[in-house]
Symmetry: C2
Subunit: 329 residues, 2 copies
């Protein structure tokens, strides 16, 4: 491995000069700068990030903690983040928490030990005090926080929207699928929908679930039609569950949206391809990731944050699992 000393010797200068050339700091005469650059090229030298990190006490790494990359919502967040931080020269250390405190802790330690410059977390943190001791900035994504900068969509509003739209379109016996209790955004949606439903004249049934994943979605879907067969409107905890519901409804030969309406949450890319195409509450995932990354970049550069909390709007995406309403006027 070729080091800065090798370059210095070859170019006939000191390591300090090479370092100065590398970082464009201090004074360097143009001739020597060129000479050093050439030597770097010639020796194919590339500075050791670890050594740099040790001295400066920060790396160019950013920690990213997600619940589960296998859920299609999160890769979009991740991609938004990556695209943004990459352009600033940072790289990501990725961790899946599976919403388990223990795994989250492991990664927090990893991030600390590796001197990350900052982190973005989209997971549990029921205990926000976990993050208190950290020496680097943290941005919460897909979760709100008063203390920390955070980027999230308005889950409560989304939940309300879903309920309003499904009621407006005529569902009377509504099933509300409640996501895992420890997943905060899922609870917010749920509360949003609940607040609307409880003030409406619709009957409703709440199905409690403990996962948002593919492998379980089918189970919840079956459960609904067993326990509440006469339901004519389902507000799902996310698009995956909604898709499973749709699938099960088809198996049972229910006609969507005529006999049964379904609304999802997230608007993952594949939702527009479901059959019928899924009506859903859209969260701008890629954009959320990007914004979170921007916020973190500002924290890292110690620029003042104009606003610590960024709440992005949710929108109702009307597709074919809900009935049409004719507009007035």
């Amino acid at each position: 491995m070729v080091t800065i000393r090798d370059v210095a010797k070859e170019a006939g200068v000191s390591v300090a000069t090479v370092s100065r050339v590398l970082n464009s700091t201090g004074y360097v005469k143009e001739d020597t700068r060129v000479r050093v650059m050439n030597t770097i090229q010639k020796l194919n030298y590339s500075p050791n990030e670890v050594a740099r990190s040790l001295y400066t006490r920060e790396s160019r790494l950013i920690g990213l903690l997600l619940p589960d990359i296998t859920n299609p919502f999160f890769p979009q967040l991740a991609r938004g983040i990556e695209d943004e931080v990459h352009s600033h020269g940072f790289r990501l250390i990725l961790g899946n928490s599976d919403e388990q405190l223990e795994k989250e802790l492991t990664y927090l330690q990893t991030f600390t030990q590796n001197h990350v410059v900052g982190m973005i977390t989209a997971t549990t943190s029921l205990a926000q005090k976990l993050y208190e001791g950290l020496t680097f900035p943290v941005v919460f994504l897909d979760r709100s926080s008063d203390q920390y900068p955070s980027v999230y969509a308005d889950g409560f509003e989304g939940g309300k929207l879903a309920a309003e739209e499904i009621i407006k379109r005529g569902s009377k016996r509504i099933t509300l699928i409640k996501g895992p209790v420890n997943v905060k955004p899922a609870q917010e949606r749920f509360q949003g929908s609940l607040s609307v439903l409880s003030q409406s004249d619709a009957d409703f049934y709440v199905l409690n679930t403990n996962s948002l994943a593919f492998d379980d979605a089918q189970k919840w879907a079956k459960e609904i039609f067993q326990k509440y067969p006469e339901t004519d409107g389902i507000i799902a905890s996310n698009d995956i569950v909604a898709t499973a519901v749709l699938h099960e409804a088809f198996r049972l030969e229910k006609s969507v949206p005529d006999d049964l309406q379904v609304i999802g949450f997230d608007d993952i890319p594949q939702s527009r391809f479901s059959f019928p195409a899924l009506s859903t509450i859209r969260q701008p995932a890629y954009e959320m990731g990007k914004q979170a990354a921007c916020l973190l970049m500002k924290c890292i550069k110690k620029e003042p944050l104009i606003q610590k909390q960024v709440q992005l709007p949710v929108t109702f995406i009307e597709r074919n699992t809900t009935r049409k309403v004719e507009e007035h006027g």
Copy 2:
């Protein structure tokens, strides 16, 4: 930040002793070991991974290079990898290459500069010589290589399978969607299907595409029915494209599988929820990731590899976008 010296001083021993306790190397008397451990607890000391890395010249990080995490096939690979390496105490630096050589190079550099202990790549590497200079082991995933350890599914066989099954089920005017030329696995599938089709008595049409992503899938789908409206069987380049095709077919009121059969590739989780449920060639993605990680672990531990190339079987998953054939016997 509390360092090893703080611990040493507090425990009344030398840094060497603390280090020995930490790494369970050399001789340490039981009393002092306990005393040091207690001090570590008391001071809440956690060793600086960067410093360790600098001296030992290796980190506990592994580089992972994927084409695009947004394509649902890759998160599954990633998850398989993470689960495996995590249990060995390693963490992942993630990069998306978008199949662009330039981005790939950037990440190769990042990995080197950060002293990763190894890397797994599932992307381009048209120029395998890129990987020659590296000081750490590399495992190819979803791509074969004679030189390097690699884990992949039998794409050619998968392509053949798809063609055979669709022909066996009676399609006569087949559309073969050819994935991007620079994506090797896509080409292998294509070649596999092509080899079968060209020896069959079916007519077929090849649609060339340059992406496997959601945003473009719809475009290819529309193109097919414009250019080859009488087609009665479509072999898609992956499940995403297949799903888009299905969606478009429905819009055009084609009856699947009666008038049109469709076969995908990958078996991403959502495929079983498409309508009709997608028949596809399954690649065991999670398992592939896991195997690749296992291979890398062995390389890192310098254990001999029993086999450098691991080829996992593909299987035809019969769902409802293909017609049934009655078994003989």
